[in-house]
């Protein structure tokens, strides 16, 4: 038997319906939309604090509300005008949303980050609720215990085979989910929380103004940009993006963004002709944005983004690379605004001069003394500073490949579902004081350029020539899986699936250090969901 089981890795990807950006205006407000459209099936409770049955007893993210409304339309027979739908989702996400602290552990699922091995999920959820979707889907909702129980009943009707699935059928799944899991969910994720009450009451900072952004796109590399955010209507903005990729080429784009619950930023931009989505969270003070930006039509292709609001005083957003080897000279890209030329990186690092400067970044030549102490350095630019901005190291002792566990999916070949790629980056470490790599005191250096290759994961994969069929990796660490469909060349005419190891190699001064990640190339995912 070919054992293709693996740690649970979330499989995100594909085209997504996105929270609407169109601008037709609805004539009526949220409660009125509910009254006019939902009361055929839902009812008025007569209670001011929770006026509508089912609808008022839960809180969720904008995507969570979108999923529910999608189901009401596709499966329950709800008819709703698109302009009313947009107003309703905004209303529900604003008035029955989640506080920033309530979403903090589960951003990955909103950001559609691929290949996350979920770690923040309570044990009772892991064993009962993660057979079909992420644990984050539940973690991103707040309900009364009664509503968590109604959700279990809903699952029984929606997926009648649920209690028969492997991993469920060896115990009384329904009784456990109804009596134990729901109770724990009601305690862990209750409808009423101080976090939400406080956040709802807190004044929200407007997000318009100039921002400095730094980010990464797998196929283009790191970039820096200034983003001008202009207010449109309440919580809606127009954006202009201007910046540079790491190799100096320019980046330009524009688009718009909508903000839900005072901090959930959802942007739709076109950058250099490519449609992209932004899923960011604004910090509670409204001074930074962090999240992920990805291609609209291929959300695996995306990366982390971080931005800070530009002001009169200098702002540092990021430094790249984040490491320098003892005894070498290097050009650093400091992304930020109003950057002064008074730069310091502490003992053992001398600043040789500013190479160039734009509105969003500065290139600086720095030299590390041969005897500079190994460790993190704080970067100071004028009066502002960034902790642990640069790591001084002796040699690269270990390379980790991220993500460590991953899935790609065959596709294309004339079929309806495109290939789902997977992307890799190499993170370097120095050995630290004990001289041994793989121990606690290893010094993280950050993302390093690497060369990429594949090998069979195990003997079975080797015997079945997975390497030949399952796909290819390019110089940027982007893996493209094989074609969909049965392959008559293969044993049992199987698909082009495979079990591979992705090898990333960092070469430095003639020495090569490699790291490996596990990649399971599997079949298509036929259902794409807003919250996986």
């Amino acid at each position: 038997m070919k054992n293709r089981s693996m740690k649970r890795v979330l499989r995100f990807g594909g085209a997504v319906a996105f929270l609407g950006f169109a601008s037709t205006v609805s004539a009526i407000d949220g409660p009125q939309i509910i009254k006019e459209n939902c009361l055929l099936c839902h009812s008025e409770t007569g209670k001011a604090e929770a006026p509508f049955s089912r609808i008022s007893q839960q809180r969720k993210t904008p995507e969570g509300w979108q999923m529910t409304i999608n189901r009401m339309k596709s499966q329950r027979g709800l008819l709703l005008k698109p302009e009313d739908e947009r107003v309703l989702i905004k209303y529900l996400a604003d008035t029955q949303g989640l506080a920033p602290s309530e979403t903090a552990d589960f951003r990955y699922v909103l950001e559609r980050e691929p290949n996350v091995v979920e770690q923040n999920v309570p044990e009772h959820l892991a064993s009962t609720c993660m057979g079909c979707h992420s644990g984050a889907r539940a973690g991103l909702q707040r309900r009364t215990t009664d509503e968590w129980q109604k959700l279990v009943h809903f699952h029984m009707g929606q997926v009648p085979s649920i209690e028969y699935l492997a991993g469920h059928r060896d115990r009384p799944w329904f009784q456990i989910a109804l009596n134990e899991t729901s109770t724990q969910l009601g305690e862990g994720y209750p409808l009423v929380t101080k976090a939400w009450d406080d956040w709802k009451a807190a004044p929200k900072a407007p997000l318009n103004g100039d921002w400095v952004m730094s980010g990464f796109m797998p196929d283009k590399g790191e970039f820096s940009a200034t983003v001008s955010v202009m207010p449109n209507k309440k919580d809606e903005y127009t954006l202009l993006v201007n910046g540079y990729y790491a190799n100096g080429t320019k980046l330009t784009g524009s688009g718009n963004a909508k903000v839900f619950a005072g901090y959930e930023w959802r942007g739709a931009v076109v950058i250099d002709g490519r449609k992209m989505r932004q899923v960011f969270a604004a910090s509670e003070d409204g001074q930074s944005l962090s999240g992920r930006m990805f291609l609209k039509n291929d959300d695996v292709i995306g990366g982390e983004v971080f931005a800070k609001k530009a002001g009169k005083s200098p702002v540092i957003v990021s430094v790249s690379p984040t490491y320098i080897k003892q005894g070498t000279t290097q050009t650093l890209k400091i992304t930020g605004s109003n950057l002064s030329e008074k730069i310091s990186l502490g003992k053992g690092i001398s600043v040789e001069g500013v190479v160039s400067k734009t509105a969003d970044h500065m290139l600086v030549k720095v030299k590390a003394d041969a005897k500079a102490m190994v460790g993190d350095r704080t970067l100071a630019v004028g009066a502002s500073s960034l902790d642990a901005a640069l790591a001084v190291y002796d040699s690269v002792a270990r390379v980790d490949i991220t993500p460590g566990e991953s899935i790609a999916r065959i596709g294309g070949n004339g079929g309806p579902i495109p290939k789902q790629k997977s992307i890799y980056r190499a993170i370097g470490y120095a050995a630290g004081a004990d001289g041994k790599p793989g121990t606690e005191d290893d010094l993280k250096l950050g993302y390093m350029p690497a060369t990429w290759s594949l090998k069979p994961f195990d003997a079975v994969a080797e015997e079945e020539h997975d390497l030949k069929y399952a796909g290819k990796i390019n110089a940027q660490g982007i893996f493209t899986p094989g074609d969909a469909g049965l392959n008559p060349e293969r044993k049992m005419s199987t698909n082009n699936v495979g079990n591979l190891a992705v090898v990333g190699t960092v070469t430095e001064g003639g020495a090569a250090v490699s790291g490996e990640a596990h990649l399971l190339v599997t079949v298509q995912d036929f259902v794409k969901e807003l919250i996986q």
Binding site: R54, H153, M156, R169, D170, R171, P172, F174
Partner: protein
């Protein structure tokens, strides 16, 4: 995982035998019986195949969307009951002319009712049983309620309604009927039997609630997606378990085992216990009519095993996955089907392929059953 170095599973067998004799003897073939092979393909057709010629005799259109393709035959072999419409409706066909002689719909606008393969017919052919899993469809919420055995009279014709219902456990899949006691076998977490006249339930074999310590054993994963065994009158519920010979979780020392609960559908005699080391996935099993110790299994391979000795005797690789398997009453042929659109015919002695039947559509999860008609 490592599946080598397994201890003889026959050792474990003795300890957990709850039944009396090993069941099923190879009945001698009655010359007056014709055997027909029944299966369903997508989009939704019942096929009747003559096992003498291995030729398709006729195909009957089944109303509704394909469900699981479940089939139960009347004891006289003349009517085939097919589960359709996403596990909800049953139609009975005269297999000689495709005429629909029975129908029932389990769901109503107020209640969604699914049967997860659970369907069987009484030994006298007068009653049809399903296990219903109802979910009440309230206006703004659903409510899953207790499953029940539903009893239908087969001569109620079209749009039959249940004549009796009795509460049963959740998670029931494969049903069978015990002739001697008029009980329906309920294959769920444990194997139970329900008296079809009064709803009284007794346990035939404990699986999930067995009396073994979790330090020594992993509770069994018992599961069946198909019904068969009519060639000799047996009900098999296979299960998978792990025996910890070291610490629980120590895979190196663990044994991975197939177990089986078997019920003789004539007498109700039960045997249960581990029978074979787990070497590869087998989806369905049938017993050789001429040797109760020999079983055959299907999936990515057709395999032959001696369950008394806990040995795999032969493995025949297959060109694709076949979920299902059945045999003729005299043990002369094995039919391997399901999944795709071809039924592969094999010689039980050598497992060599001796024929094939090509169908118009995929069998998917459909049953592959034998209808025995007296001439």
């Amino acid at each position: 995982m490592k599946f080598k170095q397994m201890v003889n599973p026959a050792k474990g067998l003795g300890a957990v035998m709850t039944g009396l004799v090993l069941m099923g003897t190879g009945l001698s073939v009655q010359a007056a019986t014709d055997e027909y092979l029944l299966t369903v393909t997508r989009p939704n057709q019942l096929h009747v195949i003559d096992t003498k010629t291995d030729k398709l005799l006729r195909s009957c259109d089944v109303p509704g969307t394909f469900g699981n393709g479940g089939i139960a035959s009347s004891p006289d072999g003349k009517v085939a009951y097919v589960m359709t419409n996403k596990w909800e409706d049953v139609y009975g066909f005269n297999i000689s002319d495709c005429k629909i002689v029975f129908s029932m719909k389990q769901s109503t606008p107020m209640e969604q009712v699914k049967s997860i393969i659970s369907m069987t017919v009484s030994a006298d052919g007068k009653e049809l049983y399903t296990v219903q899993n109802p979910v009440k469809l309230h206006k703004d919420h659903f409510e899953a309620i207790q499953p029940r055995l539903a009893v239908y009279k087969t001569d109620d014709g079209l749009n039959a309604q249940p004549v009796r219902t009795y509460p049963v456990d959740r998670r029931i899949t494969k049903l069978g009927f015990i002739e001697k006691t008029s009980e329906v076998i309920l294959g769920g977490g444990d194997i139970k039997a329900i008296d079809t006249t009064n709803g009284k339930v007794r346990t035939l074999a404990k699986l999930q609630n067995w009396d073994r310590s979790p330090e020594g054993w992993v509770p069994p994963d018992a599961f069946a997606m198909h019904t068969m065994g009519e060639h000799i009158g047996e009900y098999i519920m296979p299960y998978f378990t792990i025996k910890w010979n070291g610490e629980p979780g120590d895979m190196e020392k663990a044994e991975f085992l197939w177990g089986m609960t078997k019920v003789d559908t004539k007498t109700g005699d039960v045997t249960t216990g581990e029978v074979l080391p787990f070497e590869f996935i087998v989806f369905n099993w049938v017993t050789d009519p001429n040797d109760e110790d020999i079983v055959y299994g299907s999936f990515n391979q057709l395999s032959k095993h001696n369950i008394k000795e806990g040995k795999t005797l032969a493995v025949h690789p297959m060109p694709h996955t076949y979920y299902n398997i059945n045999m003729l009453e005299d043990g002369s042929k094995i039919y391997v089907g399901g999944t795709s659109s071809d039924i592969s015919i094999h010689d039980p002695k050598t497992l060599k392929k001796i024929g094939s039947i090509k169908l118009a559509g995929d069998m998917s999860t459909s049953d592959l059953r034998i209808a025995k008609v007296q001439r």
